[in-house]
């Protein structure tokens, strides 16, 4: 929502100072439909969540609103901090693995495929059109302790954090491949040729040119998978057998079985704050890249 609302004011302010931009001036009120939508469906629920988190529970089905920060103190209980830590570590590991698996695929598609490029892209995307839940259940069948992997290859990881990791990488892979593929597509491969002509070893050429030029795509992709991984609910629920749950599952339990909306809301907000930190880092990093990079 990077809407520049200050423009109309400036037109009145000074006639002398000319804007360098030749873009047409649209009145600010034209943004009102999207602002309205944003207010109702994003800010509204967020405000409700904040109000919940500061309320006090007075009984089943009754809370009194106020400014009670005690729920946020409860979030810092070692038990919940442990679950926060575990969630973020899992999401970070998952993102890293996604990069390791996704980047070579995107690279191969962009560099070596010509006729079948679109087909490959389609094959990456097709599973993504299936319901997330169904894909996770499919994985459950593959990882089954009595399945082929476990019986014949000895890979018996169902109901462990490894199963959760596999689920994360598998489900979010397309979200990473697409932006990286896009940035690899835009790249000018003659730069790599020039580097090798000038004596750079292939790996150095890759590291100093390809990787640097596609870094914004990698960062975008990584963030695109890291954020939803941190809020993951379905994958740990199905694949960990209750053994390796994320903050999302604990929040779910607070809203449903504990019927404790204030605490559930406080945890949601804490998670949002933690993730905002990562987004801030990203913005810092991404703008820097854009300044010096492609």
């Amino acid at each position: 929502m990077a809407v520049d609302l200050e423009q109309p004011k400036e037109t009145v302010a000074s006639g002398e100072r000319r804007h360098r931009s030749f873009s047409p001036r649209y009145p600010g009120w034209l943004t009102s439909p999207s602002l309205f939508y944003y207010a109702i469906f994003f800010l509204g629920p967020l405000a409700i969540l904040v109000a919940f988190s500061l309320a006090t529970q007075t009984g089943f089905d009754s809370i009194s609103y106020g400014f009670d920060t005690s729920q946020f103190h409860l979030v810092t209980d070692p038990l919940y901090l442990k679950i926060f830590y575990r969630t973020l570590v899992m999401a970070a590991t998952g993102s890293l693995l996604t990069i390791l698996v996704g980047y070579p695929i995107a690279y191969w598609m962009a560099r070596y495929l010509t006729t079948y490029k679109l087909l490959a892209l389609l094959l990456i995307l097709v599973p993504f059109w299936t319901s997330f839940l169904i894909r996770t259940y499919a994985l459950k069948i593959i990882l089954d302790p009595n399945g082929y992997l476990a019986k014949n290859l000895g890979i018996d990881i169902m109901f462990t954090k490894y199963a959760v990791g596999v689920g994360l990488v598998y489900n979010y892979l397309p979200l990473f491949i697409i932006p990286v593929f896009a940035s690899l597509e835009r790249m000018d491969w003659s730069l790599v040729e020039a580097a090798t002509d000038l004596g750079a070893k292939p790996f150095n050429a890759f590291r100093q040119i390809t990787l640097r030029l596609t870094m914004p795509g990698v960062v975008t992709g990584a963030l695109l998978v890291f954020i939803p991984m941190s809020g993951e609910y379905i994958i740990p629920n199905i694949l960990s057998g209750g053994n390796y749950e994320f903050v999302g599952n604990v929040i779910g339990d607070q809203f449903s079985s504990a019927q404790n909306q204030p605490f559930g809301s406080a945890m949601s907000i804490s998670l949002m704050i933690a993730l905002s930190g990562f987004v801030a880092l990203y913005i810092l990093f991404a703008t820097k890249e854009e300044r010096f990079g492609a």
């Binding site: 089943f60 038990l79 302790p145 057998g241 209750g242 053994n243 339990d253 079985s257 504990a258 019927q259």
Partner: protein, 410 residues
């Protein structure tokens, strides 16, 4: 809903319908040419208010809480019954036969049913308000909570003559001591099962079961039923404590106990354990008796599953018919409950869902392989000591949830 322009939806007592129709006709006549309902009633807004005035004050006077029961008897059935239920929990013929009952058919009553998958979902819907359910089927803990938050209608026994068919032991319960807000739908117990080709001990109590977990976890998958309201109270009972305790000492003790067996638990799930156990994947697990019965039947060929109804204390649970206070048609709701208490209906139902309905005259009509199976018709000598698990207070529910979260986090 189709939005016809000449159609106006008015929320008003049913008795006022003739008056409203009369009003419509009067106005049409006065104007001299046909009007749509909406514009006619728009013109006649004032007249409409005065026409309804007498009726609404009338119902307001009798609508006080103490008079709910008496107010219902003698009132006619409506033409719509809205049921909010667990899915696939009642035989389809039960609905058809109900609508074919003389009184019900005369009223032209139609049933609409929607489903929930957990008590939490039901509670959330009712707490949010604005529902039009006539019938709900909450479990015992939800019943108690709904009574506490004043969401249930006190039933009128005069409209449920078949209540006399119920085993008197099931008329009142710890979750509804007056017995006025619920009629039991069916009940069951929590037990456990094991693969006796692997587990050589003969566990008899839930504590025996817990104590074997650490030993056998390396031999195959072990499973506990999930949910804070299962894991914590069942472990409390196994250790001889009150399932519905609010004592912090008890909670500390049970938390230590649960953490000591944590390494012995492979999975904590209630959703897929039947299929997994039938596939032979679970060697030691908790289960509800109806499910365990299916597991034993499913493993008949291998014959390797022993099912154990717990000696000493375990959980007894129930699902119940209740009527929300906001039910639009409580008379039809009573008629539905009365129909479900008919012995012949109860027989059909039990053959469908395989959980006992405590109606002796119906149980005796069942085929003996069902009625004499202790996994179906659990003998009273077990259930006498069993406890219903309740949502005692928000604090207790939260304490249980924290122990459960800690247990899962390991």
């Amino acid at each position: 809903m189709t939005d016809r322009r000449d159609h106006l939806n008015i929320l008003a007592p049913r008795e006022t319908k003739p008056k409203l129709d009369q009003l419509h006709r009067d106005i049409v006549r006065a104007v001299g040419h046909p009007l749509s309902r909406r514009s006619a009633l728009g013109i006649g807004g004032l007249a409409l208010l005065s026409a309804c005035g007498s009726t609404s004050t009338g119902t307001g006077a009798t609508g006080s809480s103490s008079a709910t029961a008496d107010a219902l008897s003698g009132k006619p059935l409506g033409d719509h019954l809205e049921i909010y239920n667990w899915s696939q929990y009642d035989d389809p013929s039960t609905y058809k036969k109900f609508m074919a009952l003389p009184d019900v058919a005369k009223a032209g009553l139609k049933i609409n049913e929607t489903y929930y998958s957990s008590n939490d979902e039901l509670l959330a819907k009712l707490n949010a308000g604005g529902t039009t359910y006539d019938i709900i089927a909450p479990s015992q803990n939800a019943v108690a909570q709904l009574i506490e938050t004043d969401k249930l209608l006190e039933m009128d026994d005069a409209l449920i003559p078949n209540k006399k068919n119920l085993d008197p032991k099931f008329l009142k319960a710890s979750y509804d001591p007056t017995g006025k807000f619920h009629v039991i739908k069916d009940y069951g117990v929590t037990m456990f099962f094991y693969n006796h080709t692997i587990v050589t001990e003969k566990p008899q109590t839930m504590l025996d079961f817990y104590n074997l977990l650490n030993k056998y976890v390396s031999k195959g998958r072990t499973n506990l039923l999930d949910g804070a309201e299962e894991v914590v109270p069942i472990a409390l009972m196994a250790n001889g404590m009150d399932a519905n305790t609010d004592s912090q000492d008890d909670f500390n003790q049970v938390s230590d106990f649960l953490m000591s067996i944590r390494k012995g638990v492979t999975t904590i799930t209630s959703s897929s354990y039947i299929d997994d156990a039938i596939a032979g994947k679970i060697i030691l697990g908790q289960g509800w008796n109806g499910d365990v019965r299916r597991i034993v039947q499913g493993r008949k060929k291998q014959g390797d599953i022993t099912a154990v109804l717990c000696q000493e204390k375990s959980e007894i649970w129930s699902d119940n018919w209740c009527i929300p206070k906001t039910a639009p048609d409580p008379v039809a709701a009573h008629a539905w409950i009365n129909w479900l208490l008919t012995p012949s209906t109860a027989v059909t139902e039990m053959e469908y869902h395989n959980y006992p309905i405590p109606i002796p005259s119906a149980l005796s009509q069942l085929p003996t392989d069902l009625s004499s199976d202790p996994l179906f018709n659990v003998p009273a000598k077990y259930t006498d000591d069993y406890q219903y698990i309740l949502n005692v207070s928000p604090q207790v529910v939260q304490d249980r949830t924290k122990i459960y979260t800690q247990f899962k986090a390991g």
